[in-house]
């Protein structure tokens, strides 16, 4: 792997982060009334303080956060804060730090997403490869067809239907939450079992709704790959069908799939946010939903920033792994 490629990819990563931070900085300032200031005034007025006090609190806040400084200085300060993950303090859950709230929720989201994405990607890719393979029994085609159709609908529609059928009507799975009410999150075996039990339905809705798109992509790549000369050559050499399937057809069709994975991480995360809301799952999606409901701006911006950071990192890692999968890229530029 050459250094230029790595540096270029890290550059793109930094651009994404900078872009996200800038949008977060610019948007509230473009609004006719500064929403954060409004919210602060409102928060103080709920406290029953007089009008003069309110203005004073807002002034103190503006001084503390440097809002009376020139814009370019505020911007630099903001970028520096973001670089240190200093997202400020939650307005709705004063005085919790936004970072703490996010860090509490993040493990839930990451484990849910990592698991479901790996399962959906692996299983979907395999199914897609199989339905493109001429020797696959017809029964599999019939079984996979509904899954392909499911891939067109948003994750959360499936989540709503699953929760109604499997949790409300038949009570097989819990209705909502990430763990039983009354238990405290810990790393004990019983808690992990409980958490796993609660995560089956959210995971199932993400896997079922995303499986098909991997299968469709893989099928397309397999079909165009199967017409290539190296497959004919492998057949002529007398290689076994299994070997041609795994080492020739599948391996080559896999590369674009990895690119597609890197490109669709954002889509997956967006979809998962809403699945979390449907289930009241204790991840960042639910945190975001609560923050929007309570106009908790620092939390909203913090969650957005953190998720973009996480996705940027994941894409970066995937892109750096890519040359290892495709030897043709490794020697580029040497």
């Amino acid at each position: 792997m050459n250094l230029g490629y790595i540096l270029k990819r890290i550059g793109v990563f930094l651009i994404i982060i900078w872009l996200a931070a800038t949008v977060n900085f610019v948007m509230p300032r473009m609004a006719p009334v500064n929403p954060i200031r409004e919210k602060l005034l409102q928060a103080v007025s709920f406290g029953g303080a007089g009008k003069i006090d309110m203005e004073r609190v807002v002034k103190t806040y503006e001084e503390k956060f440097g809002l009376n400084q020139p814009l370019w200085k505020q911007y630099l300060n903001y970028l520096w804060d973001m670089a240190r993950l200093e997202f400020g303090i939650s307005l709705a859950n004063f005085p919790s730090k936004v970072l703490d709230i996010i860090l509490r929720a993040l493990p839930w989201t990451i484990s849910l997403l990592l698991l479901t994405t790996l399962i959906a990607f692996g299983l979907g890719t395999l199914l897609g490869a199989l339905i493109a393979w001429p020797r696959t029994p017809t029964i599999l085609h019939i079984l996979v067809a509904p899954l392909l159709t499911l891939s067109s609908i948003p994750f959360y529609t499936l989540a709503l239907i699953l929760v109604y059928l499997l949790a409300f009507t038949w009570k097989i799975f819990p209705l909502s939450g990430g763990y039983a009410l009354g238990s405290m999150p810990s790393l004990s075996l019983s808690f992990l079992k409980d958490a796993l039990y609660h995560s089956i339905l959210p995971a199932l809705s993400i896997v079922l709704a995303s499986l098909g798109s991997w299968a469709i992509g893989m099928r397309g790549m397999m079909i165009s790959g199967l017409g290539e000369d190296y497959i004919t050559f492998a057949e002529a050499k007398g290689l076994k069908g299994r070997e041609i399937f795994l080492r020739y057809a599948l391996r080559n069709a896999l590369l674009p799939q990895v690119t597609a994975l890197a490109l669709s991480l954002g889509y997956i995360v967006s979809g998962a946010v809403l699945v979390e809301v449907v289930f009241g799952y204790p991840g960042v999606g639910t945190v975001l939903y609560q923050a929007i409901r309570t106009f908790d701006y620092f939390v909203i911006y913090g969650v957005v920033m953190m998720l973009i950071l996480a996705i940027g990192l994941a894409t970066l890692i995937l892109d750096l792994l890519y040359p290892l999968l495709d030897p043709r890229i490794t020697y580029q530029g040497q």
Binding site: V23, A31, H141, I153, L160, A262, G266, S270, V304
Partner: protein, 278 residues
């Protein structure tokens, strides 16, 4: 009939979409749109002869809500999709035809924006203008992130078309850049343009419903996403009010199935290689 046999997926998809688009205008002739207003009926009534799809917790009748909401959501999708396609065509042509730094800039921007979760960027934008959001504004917000796939698709196609012989011939015969784009490239790109439009509409509808379900939509309009938001807000699932979230979900699923079938059908036209049996 011949068209149906050759492209069954495309035709079925088009029929579904046409039905959904016509559903609102036709049904509103029969159903009283005032029933979509808060307090127009007894709250939390299950479907009955009087309220065909039941009512929600604040007394909106679900049938009128769907009749009013479906066209609103489709309108957001179509307007945003059209803007997305328009921008995509513009950027795609600029990048593909002129190449050089224009290409690097446009392709880079599209790639960077594709990897970020669009919904989250939209959350920040929508949070800022919260409260004052109208249906049209929703369309513009969503359109701001619906142009990347069209840009990529069209750029890639323009790149391959540019080197084809008929474009060379056109250039030699003295056509200028715009003429070549209009008379030689666009006709060849039609299936891709159609596919890009469908995908832009799809991602726009997905984004708008997502934003609305998070509570960032037009608060006083009964769009499909807002209906889901209110259904979640009043915990309709835990209370067994299936007729509340069921209808909007059904319409959403139908919409995405229709778009999906159309895009599969268009894919078969544009990509003969994929035409083998499923």
């Amino acid at each position: 009939m011949k068209a149906l046999r050759n492209h069954p997926l495309l035709i079925i998809g088009l029929i579904i979409m046409a039905t959904l688009i016509l559903f609102g205008p036709i049904a509103s002739q029969i159903v009283d749109a005032n029933g979509a207003k808060v307090g127009s009926a007894m709250p939390e009534q299950p479907p009955s002869a009087e309220y065909p799809l039941g009512t929600d917790a604040v007394g909106r009748q679900l049938l009128p809500v769907i009749v009013v909401g479906t066209p609103l959501t489709l309108r957001i999708g179509l307007v945003a999709g059209a803007i997305g396609l328009g921008l995509g065509v513009l950027f795609g042509f600029l990048a593909g035809y002129f190449g050089g730094w224009v290409d690097t800039l446009i392709k880079g921007a599209a790639d960077v924006l594709l990897t970020v979760p669009g919904l989250l960027f939209l959350v920040v934008i929508a949070t800022t203008i919260k409260g004052a959001v109208s249906v049209n504004m929703m369309a513009f917000v969503v359109a701001s992130l619906a142009w990347m796939w069209p840009t990529r698709t069209i750029r890639a196609q323009v790149l391959t078309l540019r080197e084809r012989q008929f474009v060379m011939v056109a250039r030699l015969s003295g056509m200028n850049g715009l003429e070549i784009i209009w008379r030689e490239l666009i006709p060849n790109l039609l299936p891709y343009l159609a596919a890009s439009f469908v995908s832009a509409v799809g991602s726009a509808i997905l984004a708008t419903i997502g934003l609305e379900a998070l509570g960032l939509g037009p608060q006083n309009e009964p769009t499909l996403g807002m209906t889901i938001y209110w259904a979640l807000y009043y915990t309709s699932i835990l209370r067994g009010l299936w007729w509340w979230w069921g209808p909007p979900i059904a319409v959403i699923i139908l919409t995405f199935m229709g778009l999906f079938l159309i895009s599969l059908g268009l894919d078969q036209i544009a990509n003969p290689k994929l035409r083998r049996a499923t």
